[in-house]
Amino acid sequence: MNPATSTSIATTTSVNATESSAVSGSRAPLPAVWRIALARGRVELKAFFRERQSVVFILAMPAVMLILLGAIFANEQTGHGVSVGDLYVAGLIGGGVMATSYQNLGISIAFERERFTLKRLRGTPMPPAAYFAGKIIQVIVAAIAETAVLMLIGVLFYHLGLPRSLAVWWTFTWVFLLGVAACSLLGIAASSVPRSAARNGVAVITLPFVVLQFISGVYVPFFLVPSWLQDIAALFPLEWMCRGMRQVFVPHAVALEPGQPWQPGQTALVLSVWVVAGLILCLTTFRWQNKRDR
């Protein structure tokens, strides 16, 4: 009935089974995993939306950047009938998805580990799967909220046209979900990197994200990025997420795309590889306690 015992050798499993049936006669069964997962999701969402730090730093930042960059470059035209504002809407939706997944999880889990939140949860009968399910629920809700806010700003201020065809929404959906999955897993893995969450956690998690935003077409239109930096950006998920969002929201900017435009097959492939790599990193590095805690 619990995964930890099922891996042990047959004799101990049977001993444990007898023991637990002996004591569980009068005992209620453990609550279902999905129930605890939903409860975790609810608590994660409450904590996220009540925390000023996460709402300002994670949720509001991309919207502020969009308004700011859009205002600064309001009169810039790129030619081909594409305004810089349109490119920023698409780029910041990609950046916003990474902020609400990678940056959000990387920082929050680093703090949870340092403040013994994870250790305390590990000491209860809560199944680990429920913890991660709760994080997924929180990330997806925050990423949808983020994307909706950015789309709204785009429609109100930059004449952003929302896609009309179902096929384009389907592209949006899979780019969004694969991007959330890859960046969430990378965020969980990155949470183990800083030696101390309080001292340098935010910087260590955020620095690579800021660099990627500059070279992947979030803060600077991608066609302006030097090609050697474009090649580096193409190794990471953010560039492909932004490319997918440009395909969805500014398809008329196709002439500005460097090299082969869109490449949805390549996008799906790179993001899937990062999902697998992130999962392997998480499974091998995730710890419920700080190494130095003894």
């Binding site: 444990n16 637990s20 569980s24 453990l30 609550p31 608590v43 904590a47 009540r50 403040r115 305390r120």
Partner: protein, 283 residues
């Protein structure tokens, strides 16, 4: 498995970190319903021992049984029967006390009522307050509530009153008394002697990874039968004498003074004397 009536049984427990022997051969037996205190200076091996029992750490050697299960193989059903109050845990600052306790109750098969647990630790007034607004002592009481809400058979309290003011400590001790009255087994670690004396049925003193003495607080280290020191005043000033028979000495002094003995005191080594002696004057 409960034939011995032991909630916790440990034999020959050993654990090293990079060649340093943190725990070096510990034997322990804690009866069901007992309040047992593990006493010792920082770095003596208290926390390592307790974390092995809680299933947080693996051991190098030894036999360990907690509620009839080896913590190495303790799954969710076993965790549902223990409660852990961590040192210095602080999290979920934006949730309220009631939300947090109710959330933790949801992990357990047959939890206690959250409102009842909040009341037990004296946080009813604060139930709707955000956790970040609590004082240090109130947060600690919340930690205790979270350890209790699953209705555990065995509760681990790791240095529970560090940072409490004296009134909060008294209030907390009352909570532990109430728990042990309801049959919960408690394993407490502390470096406060008065706390061990006030709460524990039995105390073990740990030093350099081994238990150097164990017994009730009253006769720890042979305190009850140790030689007493009788002191009194006479013409030469204060005099004192060590004796195994203080009553006889006092009687003979009374006879020689013909009544009241000036400045009479009879003392046995205090728990603190015994403790400092046992840990080798490390403090």
């Amino acid at each position: 498995m409960n034939a011995t009536g032991l909630a916790v049984s440990v034999q020959g427990l050993r654990k090293s970190y990079g060649g340093v022997k943190a725990v070096n051969g510990i034997d322990l037996g804690i009866a069901r319903g007992e309040v047992f205190a593990l006493l010792g200076p920082n770095g003596a091996g208290k926390t390592t021992t307790v974390e092995i029992l809680e299933g947080y750490r693996d051991r190098d050697d030894g036999e360990v049984s907690v509620l009839g299960t080896d913590p190495r193989r303790g799954g969710a059903a076993w965790r549902a029967r223990i409660g852990i109050v961590l040192q210095l845990a602080s999290d979920a600052p934006e949730l309220t006390v009631a939300e947090m306790v109710t959330h933790f109750a949801g992990f357990y098969p047959s939890p206690r009522r959250p409102a009842e647990v909040i009341d037990l630790v004296g946080l009813t007034d604060k139930a709707r307050s955000r956790i970040h607004s609590l004082s240090g002592g109130q947060q600690r009481r919340l930690d205790v509530a979270l350890g209790l809400v699953g209705d555990p058979e065995l509760l681990f309290l790791d240095e529970p009153t560090t940072g409490f003011d004296p009134a909060a400590r008294r209030a907390f001790w009352e909570v532990v008394h109430a728990l042990s009255g309801s049959g919960v087994t408690v394993l407490l670690t502390t470096h406060y002697l008065d706390e061990a004396a006030a709460l524990a049925d039995r105390v073990a003193v740990i030093r350099d990874g081994v238990i150097v003495a164990a017994g009730s607080p009253a006769d720890l280290g042979g305190r009850a039968v140790a030689e007493a020191v009788v002191s009194w005043q006479d013409d030469d000033g204060t005099r004192s004498e060590r004796t195994a028979e203080p009553t006889r000495l006092v009687a003979s002094l009374a006879a020689s003074f013909g009544g009241e003995i000036p400045g009479l005191t009879v003392s046995r080594p205090s728990l603190e004397d015994v403790y400092l002696d046992l840990i080798g004057g490390q403090r």
